[in-house]
């Protein structure tokens, strides 16, 4: 089964995998080969990827994604999102700093629009931080 993470700035991931766990608006779904065709909406969160059936949990790959569309076809999962980053590419300290900034923006927001924007930023950096954290733990073990 092939997993494709397609963003506006290019295809971020395009490889054969065994299992993918994807956050959707209806909750998290785990997709294995021969899943029925499905189109659903992804929400911001962590995609967990296992490449082989026998691979250990410690070798999982993590991606931070923003909202988008998930298209499951036989033999292929296509995830169209605004943003997708691999755990390797996220620097934990930077994400933490960005989260702090977003939090202070949220606290200082003057109107609804600013608050909404700040909330989005907070969510985004929370997810990135979580991916960075998962990634670090995996490497340590």
């Amino acid at each position: 089964m092939r997993l494709k993470l397609v963003t506006l700035s290019g295809t971020k991931f395009d490889e054969e995998i065994y299992e993918a766990t994807i956050p959707t608006v209806d909750g998290e779904i785990a997709v294995f080969p021969d899943h029925e065709p499905l189109v659903t909406l992804a929400k911001g969160g962590v995609i967990t990827v296992r490449k082989h059936k026998t691979a250990s949990v410690d070798d999982d790959d993590f991606f931070a994604i923003s909202g988008g569309v998930v298209e499951i076809n036989p033999g292929e999962i296509k995830v169209l999102v605004d943003e997708a980053d691999h755990g390797d590419d996220i620097v934990e300290a930077e994400s933490q700093a960005a989260l702090d900034r977003a939090l202070s923006l949220r606290d200082e927001a003057k109107d609804q629009v600013e608050l909404e924007k700040a909330h989005q930023l907070v969510d985004r950096h929370m997810v990135r931080l979580k991916v960075a954290d998962l990634h670090r733990r995996r490497r340590r073990s």
Partner: protein, 289 residues
Amino acid sequence: MASTRQLKGRIRSVKNTKQITKAMQMVAASKMRRAQDATKASSDYTRSAQELLTHLAAQGATNGHPLFTDRPVKSRLLIVIAADKGLAGAYNTNVMKAYIQSLKSDDKEGVRNMTISVGRKASQFVSRIKDTEVIGTYNDLPDHPEGSEFYAILSTACDKFVEGTVDAVDVIFTRFVSSMTQTAEVQRILPAGFSAETVSEFVRDATYEPSVSVVLEGVARRMVGAQLFQALLDARASEHSMRMLAMKNATDNATELADDLTLEMNKARQAAITQELAEISGGAEAMNG
């Protein structure tokens, strides 16, 4: 014939200009390569998105959706995308020509129109035109327009369309066909249209969760955004490659001009030497005689 000194000055100034145009050519070339990669990178997304939309439309899910309502066009919004700077050959002129053409055809058909301009050159141009209402100008967009400006343009366009102020939204931009060909084009992004792209049969049989309409709601704006994004990237790539070509021509012309002037200077110098010799030998002849 101009004096050697004058010619020397001109050669120096032509060579200076050549250095500048050469540098601008190099800069444009490297920017073009990056912009070109960006256009290619996002085309994957746009294509998949288009396929999904086409399919949703085929299911009849788009009927009645505010972004898909096809109304008789009484007024439209034009988004004009040009460069922030000049010196890019006919780049800005071509876009403005297409824009004027649209305005004229609107005039003929009695369609009112509004304009959003992107890029300093476009903004300067539209601000001088009286029979359109300018509702937004965006200058100095970054090479990768992901930020708030992009969303501002997108949501203005969508909101105006949904509330019925305009019945169509068109983007006027330069499509990047290849590094040699770029064409100014008018593309309709709202009502969200569909290309005749064939849908893979799996998408056709798929289940939609939670429901077709919810998926559509989540997808529609994003897809319209992707089209606008692609237009912005295309415009950027076109700008850089047209600037590169224009600067290459300028550099070539400067080289030619410098060569011609050098030849002329050498001739002038030789003429001066010949004349001096003639005078000396003339003088010697007179003394001997």
